[in-house]
Symmetry: C3
Amino acid sequence: MRWPNGLDGLCYGGDYNPEQWPESTWVEDVSLMRKAQVNLVTVGVFAWSRLEPQPGRYVVDWLDRVLDLLHDGGVKVVLATPTAAPPPWFSLAHPDALPVTAEGVRLHHGSRDTYCAAAPAYRDAARAVATMLAERYRDHPALAMWHVHNEYGTICHCPHAAAAFRRWLRERYGDLDGLNQAWTGSFWSQSYSDWAQVDVPRATQYLANPTQVLDFRRFWSDELLAAYVEQRDVLRRATPDVPVTTNYVLADWVPVDHARWSSEVDLVAIDHYPGETDGRAEEQTAFAADLARSWAGRRPWLLMESAPNLIYRYAEGVYAGKEPDRMLRHSLAHVARGSRGAMFFQWRAPRGGAEVFHSAMVPHAGADSRTFQATTRLGELLTGLAETDAGTVAAHAAISWDAASGWALQHPGMPSRHISYADEVAAAYRALWRCGVTTDVVCPTAATFDLTGYRMLVLPALYLMSDAVADAVAAWVHDGGHLVVSYLSGVADPAAQVRLGGYPGALRDLLGVRAEQFLPLEPAATVRLTGGRTGRLWQERLTAPDADPVLRYAAGVLAGQPAVTRRRVGAGTAWYLSTRLDDDGYRDLLAVIAAEAGVLPVLPGAPAGVEAVRKVAGDDRWLFVFNHGTTPVEVDVWGEDLVSARVVSGAVRIAEGGVMVLREQPPRRRRRRAH
Amino acid sequence: MRWPNGLDGLCYGGDYNPEQWPESTWVEDVSLMRKAQVNLVTVGVFAWSRLEPQPGRYVVDWLDRVLDLLHDGGVKVVLATPTAAPPPWFSLAHPDALPVTAEGVRLHHGSRDTYCAAAPAYRDAARAVATMLAERYRDHPALAMWHVHNEYGTICHCPHAAAAFRRWLRERYGDLDGLNQAWTGSFWSQSYSDWAQVDVPRATQYLANPTQVLDFRRFWSDELLAAYVEQRDVLRRATPDVPVTTNYVLADWVPVDHARWSSEVDLVAIDHYPGETDGRAEEQTAFAADLARSWAGRRPWLLMESAPNLIYRYAEGVYAGKEPDRMLRHSLAHVARGSRGAMFFQWRAPRGGAEVFHSAMVPHAGADSRTFQATTRLGELLTGLAETDAGTVAAHAAISWDAASGWALQHPGMPSRHISYADEVAAAYRALWRCGVTTDVVCPTAATFDLTGYRMLVLPALYLMSDAVADAVAAWVHDGGHLVVSYLSGVADPAAQVRLGGYPGALRDLLGVRAEQFLPLEPAATVRLTGGRTGRLWQERLTAPDADPVLRYAAGVLAGQPAVTRRRVGAGTAWYLSTRLDDDGYRDLLAVIAAEAGVLPVLPGAPAGVEAVRKVAGDDRWLFVFNHGTTPVEVDVWGEDLVSARVVSGAVRIAEGGVMVLREQPPRRRRRRAH
Amino acid sequence: MRWPNGLDGLCYGGDYNPEQWPESTWVEDVSLMRKAQVNLVTVGVFAWSRLEPQPGRYVVDWLDRVLDLLHDGGVKVVLATPTAAPPPWFSLAHPDALPVTAEGVRLHHGSRDTYCAAAPAYRDAARAVATMLAERYRDHPALAMWHVHNEYGTICHCPHAAAAFRRWLRERYGDLDGLNQAWTGSFWSQSYSDWAQVDVPRATQYLANPTQVLDFRRFWSDELLAAYVEQRDVLRRATPDVPVTTNYVLADWVPVDHARWSSEVDLVAIDHYPGETDGRAEEQTAFAADLARSWAGRRPWLLMESAPNLIYRYAEGVYAGKEPDRMLRHSLAHVARGSRGAMFFQWRAPRGGAEVFHSAMVPHAGADSRTFQATTRLGELLTGLAETDAGTVAAHAAISWDAASGWALQHPGMPSRHISYADEVAAAYRALWRCGVTTDVVCPTAATFDLTGYRMLVLPALYLMSDAVADAVAAWVHDGGHLVVSYLSGVADPAAQVRLGGYPGALRDLLGVRAEQFLPLEPAATVRLTGGRTGRLWQERLTAPDADPVLRYAAGVLAGQPAVTRRRVGAGTAWYLSTRLDDDGYRDLLAVIAAEAGVLPVLPGAPAGVEAVRKVAGDDRWLFVFNHGTTPVEVDVWGEDLVSARVVSGAVRIAEGGVMVLREQPPRRRRRRAH
C-alpha cells in the first residue's frame, strides 16, 4: 500500500476547481485553506476543456501557477486526470465515442460523463491528456497522489461496447456452448450459433435474459477497470513513487464491482453521501467506511468526497441540511473506521453549472459563514488526531457484500420487485451496528476473500454463490464459526441459475433447512411471528429437517411453520432467517448470536445512539465515542480525550451530538498516572 | 369443432420444455407425468433455436426421442410451432423484421416475441419451420393437436407494418374519402389526399387521432390472425384430421379481438392468470371461462395455461402464493364452465432464463414437494371427472365484451382516464356472479353474435355500437328481453364518432333517457344515491323523458336527478345506470332484474362465497359446487359427489376451500336410489 | 392598440369549425348564434388540409360561403391562419420539418403542432397560406381581426433548431468567451472553442447545463415570435387597419415569455382554462386576467378561449363540470379585469377527433341543452354590459411574473424539486386576492417594466434578477414603496449564476438580511413559526443584520432564528419571507402591509368568497361583485345593477354563485336620482 506523498497526519481538504475562478480568488483560497488547516486538495477533476481547449493544444500555465501557489501555502495536491468530462471538441469530432442507451438513443454533450469508455477514440484521448499531465507535473513538489478520472460508472450500448462485450464473453466462456449454457440459451430460443449474433442487452420486446444483463454489468466493471489501468500505468511509469487511485462512487446504479478493483489502486478512496436524515445517516456512514476498509484489505483508505453541510435526499427531491456537529461526527466516524482523513466535495461553491447548489466548505455566502467556521473547527480537530492515523481497526464479525448479487436481484422476473439488495444488507448491518459490534465486510468475488479470524458472519441475500464460496463458508462453520443466513442467499450459482432441490440451494445442507416456495409479502404487509416479532417483505414455505425452529410464523398461510432456524454444525452454528425481522427483533437475535460467538460490543452497555470504534497500533489504543442522540449520555470510558484535551475516567458525559477520541492507556500506565 | 386427437376424458398437463434438460431428466419427467396422470403436454413452444440452430439446418432427432418417450408413457402431445421466439440468427440476418416502437426504437434480440409479424422475412421463416414440423410429425402417434405460436399480441410500427396497415385501410374504407370521414379528417387538419400520407400512429406532438389508433389495433388483430392462418393452413394440409389452435392471452394490452379469431381455430384455447389474491381471483376465473366459452360458440374449449401455485400480482410487483385447494378449485371452475381439461404453464421449472421463478407442476424443489403432491391430487380428480366432459353449460343471462370498445376507451381524450373497460365489465360480471347466475358473454363483433334465448343482458360500457347491434338489442328487448345498460354504452359508432343529440346515442330511445353531460368523479370520490346506495367514477346529467327513475343522485350538483332508470319496452324492460353502483348495490339491482327476467341462480339461497355451475348432457347433470370461503358452509344439493365418492342429499356441508362435483340424478332415479 | 374591426360592445363567441360540418349545419349555427347574441367567431384555426388539400392547390369556396353566411347573420369573424396543424402532405414532403425530441425521436403526423418552427420549409408554407388568406379575405366585410396560428409553444431539437439557436446565441453573447462565461463553461469541462460545438440541449448523461437549457427556452420564445411576426407582417401589409393577434396559452410547459411578445400583437389574447374545481379556479381566473392586462400594458385585452361547461383537471385525469353560474362568473370576472369580451373554445362539439369531449357552447346533445341555455343567458348579459367596455382597471399593488425565473427553477439541480414557480406566484397572488386588493402584474423582462404608481409590490421567487431590475426595485422602495420579497428571489443573475456573498444576493442589502443556507422542507413537512403561523416547503438560515424579525422559526434546527423580517428603507419598507407561510398567515401579513401602504380593498369588509373589481372611465364607475361562495351574502354597495336591472343601495344580498355589475354613480348624481 502506498500513501499520499509527503503528508504527515490526517488528510484534510476537498475538490478544488481553480479553473472556475479568477486568480485573485486563488490567493484567497490558499489563505483560507491555511486558516482551516487544509493540507490536501484534489485539482483538475473536470478541467479538460481548460487544459486542452482544442485537440492537442494544451494550456497549462494556469495550472502551474495553481500548484505553485498551493505548494507555497503548504497544501499538497491530488492531481486528477480530467477524463470524466471530455471537452465539446471531442464530442463533435468523435460522435462514435458518445454513449448510446439501451433504446439506441445517442447521448450528446451537455453534462459530464458523456462518452463510451470502450470507444478507441475516447481511450486514446484520455491516455494522451493523462500522459501530458504526468510528464508536466511528475516532479512538482505539491504532487502527493494521482486521481484518475472521477467516479467510474458510465456504461454504453454502442457497437464499440458490443465488440468489447463479445471479447469479454469469449474470454469468460471460451466457446458458444459455454455461453449458451450459462445464459440458459434453451429458454426462449436464445441459443447462439455464431458470435456475431451476441449483442449487448438492448431494448427488447419483453423480459431480458437475466444472465446477459448480469454479464453486461460484469463486463462494464472490467472494461472501466481496464480504462483506469491504462491511465494508471501511464502515471505510474512517470512517477513510480507517487500513489495512484480513483474515487469509488457508492451507488446502486453503478455497474462496478469495487471488490475486484482494489488490487489495482494504491489507496482505496470512496465518495460517500448518506441519503437519510434520521439516525440512518450514521449507519450508512459506518457501513460505507467498513466497506471501504474491506476493499482496502482491512488497511487504511481515504474518504475522498463527502458533503460539508448537506444531505442529498435525491429520492425525496430535497437537499437537507447537515449541522456542523454532524459533519464533524461523520468525518471522525470515517477516520475511526480507517480513513486516512476527511476530504470533501468541494472546497468552494461554484457560481454556475449543473451542481451550483452542491455543498462546499466555502459556500456561496463566503468564508463569513457557519459552514466555514465548521470547516476550520474540523481542521483543528483533525490536526489534533494525527496520532490516530497509525491505528487499525479489528473486527470479529463480518457481513457479506456482493455487487453481482445485487445486480441479479434487480431482474424484473424475481418473485418480488420490492427486494433491494442494498436494503437487505443495510438491515442486517443496522442490526449489528445497534449491537455495538465492529464489523468487517467480506466480498466473495474479491481475490482476498477469507473468513479466517471471524467468529460471526452474516450473509444477507447473497443470491449468487459459487461452490467454492459455499464450501469455504461451510468449512468455517464446522471450525466454529457462527453463521447467519437470510432468505435469497445461495439460491443461484454465479450464472444466476437456480440451484435445484429446494432453496437455499448452496446452503441447504449446512443450514439443515429446505424451502419449497417463496411467498413474498406486498410492501405494506407484515406477518406475525412467535415471540412477539414480525416479519415483512419475504416469507418462505420452509421445513427444517435438520435444524431447530427458533421462531415460527404465527399467522397467514404459513402459521405454525418455521421462520427462523438454528443448527449446530461441528464446532459452530448456522442460523437461517426466512423473513425480514423487524429492526428490534433483528438486533436482538444478532445480539444473542454475537454473545454465543464471543463477539463483544466495543463499549458494552452503551446507550442507544452511541457509537464506539477502537483503533489499535501496538500498545496504543484510541477509542472513538460518538453520541448521535439528541440528549446527553454517560459512558464508562477512560483516557485522554483528544477532542477536549481532558483526561476522563469512569462515567463520562458526552453532550448530544458530541464526540470523544480517547487515548486509552494500558491499565499499568493508567495506574501509574492515577497516583 | 375438433378435439385433441385420441384423448379420452379431460386433458391434463402443461407446457413441457425438454430442450432445457438432459435426456435423463426426460425419463424422470415421463415417470412423474404418469404418476400425476398427466395425459397431454405442449411441446416446442420456444424451441426454434434448438430446432433450427442455423438457417435451414434442422436438428430434430432430440424431438423425435421426446415424442417417442411421451408416446411410450401414454402422454399425448400438443405440438407447437416455435415462431414466438425467432433464433438469434434470424434477428441478425433480418434487422428489418425486428419490431419498432411508436417512438421509432428498433427492438433487438434478447427476449421473446421480438419480430414484426408483418415482415415478409418473418412470415417466410415461420411458415418454413411450421412446414418442417408438419412434414416430420404428421404421422407421429403422440400428436394430438397443433399449437401455433404463443399468445399472439405483438405489434410493430415499422414500414412493413405501415404498408400492411394501408392495405387493410384500403380494404376497409375503399377510398380516402371514406378514411377521412371515419377518421374525422376535418379535425386538426388531418384530411389525407394521397394514400402515401397515411401512416401508423407514431409518436406525435400531442393527442393522437383516436380512430387511427383504434384502427391500428383492429389492423394488428387481423394481421396477426393472418399470420396464424398461414401456419394453420400449412399444418391442416399435412394433417387434415388433427385440430389446430393457438393460445389466447387475456390481457388489456393485447391488440387482438379474439371474438373474430374463433372461427379460425379448431378449439378455443386460453391462458388464464388471475391477478387478484382476494375473492376476486375466483370471479376473474369464472369470467375468463365464460368468455372462452363464448368465443367457442358456447361449446367446449380448453384452458391451455394456468399457474399451479402462484398468482402473479404484476401491478403490485409480487408473485403471491396459490394454495393447493385454490389451484384445484380454479382448475375445476374452468372445467365446470366448459374447459376440456386443465393445462398449466409449466411442467417443470427452468433453472435459468427470464421466467426462472414462474410457477410449475414440478418446482425447483422437485417432485418431493407440496406442489407436486397437489399436481398428483388434481390428476386423480380430473380422471374421476371424465364423464363431465360430455356436459355443456346453459345460461339465460349474458354480458357483453367488446375488445374495440375497450381500446377506444383508452384514448387520453376521454373525459376520465380512470375508466378501465375491463374493470367496468368485471364490476358488472361480479354483480351477476354474486347473484349466482350463470352468464354467457356476447361479443358484438363476432360473426356468431346472437341474443336468442337470453332473458337478461348486461351491456357495461359498450362504447362502440353499430346500428345493427343497437337494432338487434332493441328488437330483443321488445320481444321480452331484460336489458341493463351502463354509462358509456352506445355513445359512439364503430368509427368512435359520437352519436349526436344526447348520450347514450344509440340506445337513447330504447332506454327512454337522455344525458347531456358527463361528470366523471375523481378516483377517490363517491356520490350518495337514494336507497342508501353510492356511486363512483362516473355521473351524468340525465333526464328520463320516457323512463322511471329508480335511484336518484342524493348529493352533489346532480342531487335529485335520475341516476338509475327503468323503462318498459314491449314485452321487456330496459334499465340504465349512469354511475358505478357500489358492489352490493349493483348485485342487489341485478338480482331484482334477474328475478323479473326469470333468470334463476344455479343454487338458490347459496351462502356468499359459494359458486355453483351445472353441466348438462341429455338427461345427465353435473353440479359443481365450490366453497371459496374460509369457513365451512351447508348447501342444499343431492347426488353422488365425484370428488369424495359419497352420495349426499339435503343440507350438505362443504369445508372451507372445498369443492363437490355432484352427479345429479333425475328425481325418479333419485327416489329409486333413496329406497 | 387596435380593436376588432366593426364591433360594438363586448365580444362574444368562440372557435367555429364549419369544416367539420355539412352546410346545413352552418345555417343552423348562424341561427343559433343570433339566438345567443354571438357577435364574433374564430374561423379556420385548424383548416389547413381543407384549405390546401394538396401543395399550392387552394380550396376556399366553402370558406367564402361560411364568411358570407356569418356576415349575413351579423357575426364578425376572427380569421385564423391554420399553421398550427400542417396537412399530411406537408409532413410527408418535408420530413426535415418534423420536430425532434431531446432524445432524438422524430415526431410524425397524427396530432396537431407537429412541425419545427425553425424549419425553412415550414416557415415558407406557413407564409404562403397566410398570404393566400390575406389576399382573398382582405376586403371581406365579416373580417374583424386576424388570428395567427394557435397557442405558440412547440419546440424542436433538430439541426434547423440548432442552427437557429447558434445564431441567437451569437447575437446574445457576441463571441464564445461571452457564451462560456454565461454558461459557466468552466464547470464540467464545457468551454466551447468553436461555434460548431454548440448544440441544443439534447439527451445527455446526467444533469444538463442549466443556462444552456434556460437559453434554449429563451431562444424558442424568440424564434416562435419571429414565426408569428412573419405571418403578421403578411397580414398587416394586406390589411393595415385590421388588428392581428395570436392566442397565448398559459401553461407551465410553454417556452414562451409572453411579456416580450406583447409589443408585437395588436390586442393581447389569452386562452384560459383553470384546473381547479374548488375556490381556486376563481383565483386562477383573476390572476390570468390580471396577467393578460399586464401584458397588454394595463389596457384592454381579450379572453380568446375558455371552456363553457368543463374544468379540465389534467393532473387528476378527469374533466370536471362547470355549472352555468360559474361559467357566467368566470366570463364576467375576465370582463371586469379588462377583457373586451368572452370567447370560448368552442362553438359546436365535434363528432370525432382527439378532442371530441372538449367543452362547447353547442354540446353533443345540441341546442336543446342546459349548456346552450347558459350560452344564451351569457349573450344577453354581455349585451347588457356593453357600456363597461369603456372602463379600465386601476391597481396600486403589483406582483411579479417572470417566465425565465420559472424555467430556471425547474432545473433538477435546485435544492428542492418541490418548488413550482407557478405555485409560488399563485400563493402570493391568493393572499392578495383574499385581501380584496386589485393587483397588477409586472414582468421584469417586458420593455414596459415600470413600478411607477404602485404602493405595494410582491416578488415571489423572482429567481433571476438583473442589476437594473434590482436597482429599480430599490429606488422604488426608497421613494416610499412597500416591498414584499419571498425566498428564492434575487438569488441569481439573468445567466442563472448565483450572486455571491449570501442570499438573496441582489436584494440582500435592500432587505437587510443575509441567508447562508437553504434548508428546504420535504413536501409533507411543516415548521412552526412564532405567532401561531406555520411554514412549509422552504426555510433559510437567515440573519437580519439590518432588519427587524417579525416572525421567527419556533421549532427545528432554526428555532429562534428570523423567518420573516421587515426593514424601513427611506420612505418605504422592505419585507422578507424565508418560508412559505400558511395561506391565512400569508393573507394576514399582506393585509397588514397593504394597510401600511395605503392599498385598500375594493370592497372593504366583504365576506370571504366575495370578489369585487371596479372599472372606471372618466366619471363612470362599474363595480363587479361576485359571490363565489355557496351561501348568500350581503355587501354594502349602491348603484344600478346591470345584471338584474335593479337599483340597489346599502346592505345588498347576493345569492350564492351570484354576480352584480353596478353602475356606480358619483354621490351627486346618485342623490339626484334618489329623489
